[in-house]
């Protein structure tokens, strides 16, 4: 598209390019075309080093291993960790990427092994690749320390004889939560020696364990502690996390015990230039911006020409390939060897990674293009710039990517190139949240009833419960209720035990762990089969199947598009074929939410504090906000085809699938019927505006909660949930208080909704700011959602004046303005 190409500022001619980051940044700022696209350009101050000598009492073995790495001192957070470990306290290390976190646990663990040859430690990593990486790093450290304890990765790929060695001899066992859950704990009797000597449990990448996965892990840890106790040990837990807002709270909830925080990094860092780039608008009416992928490629190309070692993050494997190709093509014109740019994907063998890392150190490689920060090796020493093509979904993961550059004391660059996706647009319009906003918090709910029950089953299989026993921090009474429930359903058998107490025995021939998947709730997953290759390309939980795998849906996987040809609902299989459509599909869901139990309620705006005489602003309506348990009935009734880039609605289709019901937790905002009437436009239009407001609240909530927008459901309904929910644009009867529901999109809930209730007013203000600052005219997916109904199919009209719109509401009211008015009416005024 020539329009798009022209809009990108041309790169400087090679002979004009200057060397070095500082010079390049100056050039960018001076360039009139580029300069105005940076919505954020700030420098985060350098951090000075804080370190101290290695403690005298550290084992000489470990000391010599550190010396072999040129370490004669340790950073303050590493010293703090040692002190906690020495006093036997659980602790969580939450410091930026690449601050030397792994030494925080490796040093205390190896020190213990050096003193106590029979001691054992368990390391948990979220992925196999990470375990393998750590295994080799750990082995070399142990070799230098002269420790012969061994470190073995135990997962599905471990061969039989190594498994035996792992059980019987290995000092450190590296594995993942799934293997611990299904492969080790159910067979713990065979691991008796390991568990009886277990001194440390290390949980790395703690920030990745949130939502359902985190809630499962918390229960796996409850089981682990229980089994360790059976074999006579009480291990110390060490958590390591990238920066999140609530590391101490998250770790404590994960373990169900008090965990100490090591949160101040003593590692030095140079000044960091943080920039947000928003590609220029190339078509204002349709809201089309220049391609963010091409923009990222162009900026990364400048960095390579300026000889700044750079890493570029893409959103998918496919996108990485595209960027790699574009970058190499653009540099070929300058006679730059294409091999200075390397891809860096999951699935690369360790040798390949090491070769790339070696190339970066020696300067042969100047740029790597990667998908996921998690999959990166541990030590890429000399990167100076990070380019993030697309917002990774949360501030915390953005900073994990940003953290990959700037380890030295010199200045570095962290650059986000925003895409046209709603969240990206929000960040680009509110770039201060990148540096100013508190970092997102990780949430789990280990007591989610379905998750807890699954693990009570697994725990009963591992070791019968005795009446009065607790389960982690679950009180005996609640544990008893759960066990009685399972006994009623003949999963357990309650029998009198030797000391007169009831004992609950596992009482069926099934093996419970094989029915419980940690990565989602429910065990009836669907598989997605590619008809061309006859291979399974993905697995999907039952609930998501309805909206993403219905017949004719465009299923997106790894940046590729597939069309669903057949859904075998009975056998849990979806058959897809690769296509290259210019549209994607979104399911149209009728959702009916009814409140089953209201836990708390409040009125917005809050009554002023005592003594504050200022009255609630006159003319504002009270907004009732509540939280509690709800029943959600969802039925997918059809789908829309949405054109890529323009988000035009280009067609509809029907879907016939059974409805789904779940109980979960929700927060809700009820707008009084009288307010709706007072807006001076037909109520259906007000309802559409409220629906748009719900969309904006949903997006703001996802940003604020550090969760995938899909983890959070939204709907507009009636407070009681009795009435059929009218479709968009349909007329509706009176006696209906429109209510915006935001709920945990997981049976039982994982604790998102209660947080939303806590920040009920803030959320409204954030939604207002999101709508106000959005550059679109009448609403777009980045704020109040795609304008549907009449607006979607009619040809684009020239932007109307605000006043015109108000004069002729039925001809096409500006829903964006209306949504802001409604907010004003409940006292959420314009942002100052």
């Amino acid at each position: 598209m020539s329009l798009e190409e022209d809009s990108l500022p041309r790169p400087a001619a090679p002979w004009m390019a200057r060397r070095g980051l500082t010079a390049l940044l100056e050039d960018w700022r001076d360039d009139a075309g580029l300069g105005r696209c940076f919505t954020l350009d700030v420098t985060v101050d350098a951090r000075v080093e804080s370190a101290g000598p290695i403690p005298e009492d550290l084992s000489p073995h470990v000391r010599s291993a550190l010396a072999a790495r040129g370490l004669t001192s340790l950073y303050s957070h590493q010293l703090e960790s040692l002190a906690h470990a020495a006093s036997g306290k659980h602790f969580v290390v939450s410091t930026p990427t690449a601050s030397g976190k792994s030494l925080c646990y490796n040093v205390p663990v190896l020190d213990r092994l050096a003193r106590e040859p029979d001691a054992r430690a368990l390391y948990l990593f979220p992925t196999k690749a990470l375990s393998r990486d750590q295994e080799s790093a750990l082995r070399s450290l142990m070799k230098d320390a002269g420790l012969s304890h061994g470190a073995i990765t135990y997962d599905g790929d471990t061969p039989g004889d190594a498994r035996r060695a792992a059980r019987e001899r290995s000092g450190i066992l590296l594995t993942n939560p799934d293997m611990l859950h299904a492969g080790i704990l159910p067979h713990h009797a065979g691991w008796a020696r390991f568990f009886s000597q277990l001194r440390y449990v290390v949980v790395d990448e703690l920030h990745t364990y949130r939502g359902v996965f985190g809630s499962h892990l918390s229960n796996v840890l409850r089981r682990l502690v229980r089994i360790a106790r059976f074999h006579g040990s009480t291990p110390t837990f060490v958590f390591a996390s990238a920066t999140i807002g609530n590391p101490k709270e998250h770790a404590s909830k994960m373990l169900g015990e008090e965990v100490q925080l090591v949160g101040e990094s003593g590692a030095p860092a140079g000044p960091r230039n943080v920039l947000v780039y928003e590609p220029p608008v190339v078509n204002a009416e349709l809201g089309i911006r220049a391609s963010y992928v091409k923009s990222a490629v162009r900026l990364a190309g400048d960095l390579v020409r300026a000889e700044v070692p750079t890493i570029v993050f893409g959103q998918s494997r496919n996108q990485v390939e595209v960027m790699l190709k574009y970058l190499r093509d653009s540099l070929a014109a300058d006679k730059i060897d294409p091999d200075v740019i390397q891809g860096y994907r999951s699935g690369y063998l360790p040798e390949t990674r090491r070769r790339i890392e070696e190339g970066l150190r020696s300067g042969h490689v100047r740029c790597v293009v990667a998908t996921n920060a998690l999959e990166l090796g541990i030590d890429i020493g000399s990167l100076q710039a990070v380019v993030c093509a697309g917002y990774p979904g949360s501030i915390a993961s953005l900073w994990q990517r940003f953290g990959r550059a700037g380890r030295r004391k010199e200045p570095s660059l962290a650059l986000l190139v925003a895409s046209s996706m709603p969240l990206d647009q929000y960040v680009a319009q509110n770039p201060k949240i990148v540096i100013g906003a508190p970092v997102e918090e990780a949430r789990i709910d280990p007591d989610n009833v379905e998750i807890l029950l699954s693990h009570l089953k697994c725990a009963s299989f591992e070791l019968p419960f005795e009446a009065g026993e607790s389960f982690g921090d679950v009180a005996p009474e609640a544990v008893g209720d759960g066990l009685d429930y399972l006994a009623q359903h003949k999963v357990l058998l309650a029998a009198p035990g030797a000391n007169g107490k009831t004992v609950y025995h596992w009482a069926t021939d099934a093996y419970p762990a094989s029915h419980v998947s940690l990565r989602s709730i429910g065990w009836d997953n669907f598989v997605v089969v590619d008809l061309d290759t006859n291979k399974t390309i993905a697995e999907m939980d039952w609930r998501a199947t309805h909206t993403m795998l219905h017949v004719q849906a465009i299923y997106q996987h790894d940046g590729e598009q597939y069309q669903v040809e057949r859904l075998d609902f009975e056998n849990h299989k979806g058959f897809v074929r690769k296509v290259e459509p210019d549209y994607y599909t979104t399911a149209m869901t009728y959702t009916r939410v009814s409140v089953t139990h209201e836990d708390d309620g409040a009125i917005v705006p809050e009554a002023r504090a005592l003594g504050d005489s200022a009255p609630v602003r006159p003319g504002t309506w009270p907004l009732a906000v509540g939280k509690g348990e709800v029943s959600v009935v969802e039925k997918v009734v059809g789908y829309k085809k949405i054109k890529f880039h323009t988000h035009e609605n280009v067609g509809y289709g029907d879907v016939r699938l059974p409805e789904m019901q779940m109980h979960t937790s929700a927060a809700w905002w009820t707008f009084p019927e009288d307010l709706v009437r007072s807006m001076g436009v037909p109520r259906a239009v007000v309802v559409d505006a409220l629906r748009g407001l719900g969309n904006a609240m949903h997006l703001s909530a996802a940003v604020g909660l550090m969760c995938d927008p899909r983890d959070l459901g939204k709907t507009l309904g009636d407070r009681s949930g009795d009435g059929e929910l009218p479709g968009k644009g349909e007329p509706m009867g009176g006696g209906f208080d429109p209510t915006i529901f935001l709920y945990d999109h997981v049976p039982g809930g994982v604790g998102l909704a209660p947080r939303l209730f806590e920040s009920r007013e803030l959320l409204l203000r954030r939604a207002r700011s999101m709508i106000e600052t959005c550059p679109c005219v009448e609403g777009c997916p980045a704020c109040i959602g795609a304008v549907v109904g009449s607006g979607a199919t009619r040809p684009p009209e020239p932007p109307k004046l605000h006043d015109d719109a108000r004069l002729a509401p039925e001809a096409g009211t500006n829903l964006k303005e209306l949504a802001l008015e409604v907010l004003g009416a409940v006292g959420v005024g314009a942002v100052q």
Binding site: A189, F461, A478, K490, Y511
Partner: protein, 459 residues
């Protein structure tokens, strides 16, 4: 009411954990082990008498032990369970210091046959033969009169700490009678007495004999000992007949399941034997209050398995020490291969020759020749190897890839052992052309022939 209970009330019932349908309980609770009707009456009397004696003895013994236990710790006796729960369950309950133990005891008469095999002939087995067939030197010095046959019935087949052996079946010889003792778990949590009884029996035994026990029964028992904090009993030796049976009968039978062995090797066919998958639900039915009679088919099944183990021991000994033309030639060739693996090349050689001499057709003769040739090679008898390989070539078609393999082996023997490059070259020509080394071999042989031909001229 706890928060959890409130949420539980809204939850639908969990999916059923088992899919297998519970079998209709058998009307009669009797254990039917007898397969030979002639002896049944007399034997039933003896069995009943011996069981009675055993019951009295064990009660006396346990009473003595109890006195000791009370003297040591003053611990109170665990509550005995209501006897209504064991209604219909065959056997007797004895009190032990660790709690009540339910046992079923039976004696088989010395003349008892399982299929066509007299069970007591297992006593004729020699440790050396068993060790040779098991390829396990630890078996070589066991006392065959003190082997403990062991088989368990469990609450699941997938293993793990939640799977219980609810029936531990043991059998051993007392004089010429096989004494079967089955320990039955009346409810979970009462495993200690049965595991302790097992440990006592194992302390007496020189070896345990199982079928797939190395990967299933034994790890499970070890797990139960750990879970019940009982010292893990260590078998002095463990003969897992599955492996020997697979090597010796597997090639002919395909299946190595015990019932398949029983039918084909012992000539025993069970009537109305319970299917393995339906065993676990019967136990849970019983524990949840069903009449003890529901377990009768399980007890019978287990007893049959134990007797089959004894029968297999007898058959294996006979096959090893007295091979006869009556034994299937496939089995004898398989046995010859086992002998070869165990380092007994002479035995492998004569067993193979016997099969060849009986002329069972080209296929078996071919295999016989190959085994014989392998044995000859082990014995470094190149001439015999050559003649056997030559015969082997004669038993397969020219186009059969195996013919090419034989030619290749002949070429190697002739070149390196018999130093006959002329003959070797002839066979090398027939060996596979796809073999990358064949061209090298041929040119090397041609050189050797040239050299050999040159020598006499110089002399």
């Amino acid at each position: 009411m706890s928060e959890l209970r409130r949420k539980l009330q809204r939850l639908s019932a969990p999916a059923p954990e088992t899919e297998a349908d519970a079998q209709e309980p058998r009307a009669d609770g009797a254990i039917v082990v007898e397969a030979d009707p002639e002896h049944s009456e007399r034997q039933a009397k003896i069995a009943a008498l011996r069981a009675l004696i055993a019951g009295v003895q064990s009660e006396e013994r346990s009473a003595r032990m109890q006195e000791r236990a009370f003297g040591d710790s003053g611990r109170t006796k665990p509550l005995a369970r209501a006897s209504s729960r064991e209604k219909g369950l065959p056997g007797t309950v004895v009190d032990t210091p660790l709690g009540p133990l339910h046992t079923v005891a039976q004696y088989l008469s010395p003349s008892h046959c399982h299929g066509r095999v007299r069970v007591a002939r297992a006593l004729d087995a020699r440790a050396a033969s068993l060790a040779a067939m098991a390829l396990d030197a630890d078996i070589a010095d066991i006392d065959v009169r003190r082997v403990l046959l062991l088989d368990t019935e469990t609450t699941g087949l997938s293993g793990g700490t939640g799977t219980l052996p609810f029936l531990i079946g043991m059998a051993w010889f007392e004089d010429e009678s096989l004494h079967i003792e089955q320990l039955i778990l009346r409810q979970p949590g009462e495993e200690a007495p049965m595991l302790t009884r097992l440990a006592e029996r194992m302390a007496w035994a020189s070896c345990i004999v199982t079928y797939n026990g190395k990967s299933f029964d034994w790890p499970l028992i070890r797990t139960r000992a750990v879970m019940n904090r009982i010292p893990v009993p260590a078998p002095r030796a463990h003969l897992d007949l599955l492996h020997a049976a697979r090597r010796i009968f597997g090639p002919r039978l395909g299946s190595v399941r015990l019932v398949a062995m029983e039918e084909a090797v012992l000539g025993m066919r069970r009537d109305g034997d319970i299917d393995g998958a339906s065993i676990p639900p019967l136990f849970w039915d019983f524990v949840r209050g069903a009449d003890g009679g529901v377990l009768a088919p399980v007890i019978e099944h287990n007893a049959n398995d134990l007797v089959a183990l004894a029968g297999l021991l007898a058959v294996l000994e006979e096959r090893w020490s007295a091979p006869s033309p009556d034994h299937p030639p496939e089995d004898r060739l398989a046995l010859a291969r086992v002998a070869l693996r165990g380092g007994d090349a002479p035995r492998a050689g004569w067993m193979a020759r016997a099969v060849i001499d009986e002329a069972h057709g080209p296929e078996l003769s071919f295999h016989g020749c190959v085994v014989g040739a392998d044995a000859a090679r082990k014995q470094k008898d190149a001439a015999a190897e050559r003649s056997l390989l030559t015969s082997a070539v004669g038993h397969v078609r020219r186009s059969d890839p195996r013919a090419q393999q034989m030619h290749l082996r002949l070429a190697i023997v002739l070149e390196h052992r018999l130093k006959d490059p002329h003959a070797a070259l002839e066979h090398a020509e027939h060996a596979s052309e796809r073999d990358p080394s064949s061209e090298k071999r041929r040119s090397r042989l041609v050189r050797k022939i040239a050299k050999q031909d040159a020598k006499p001229k110089r002399v």
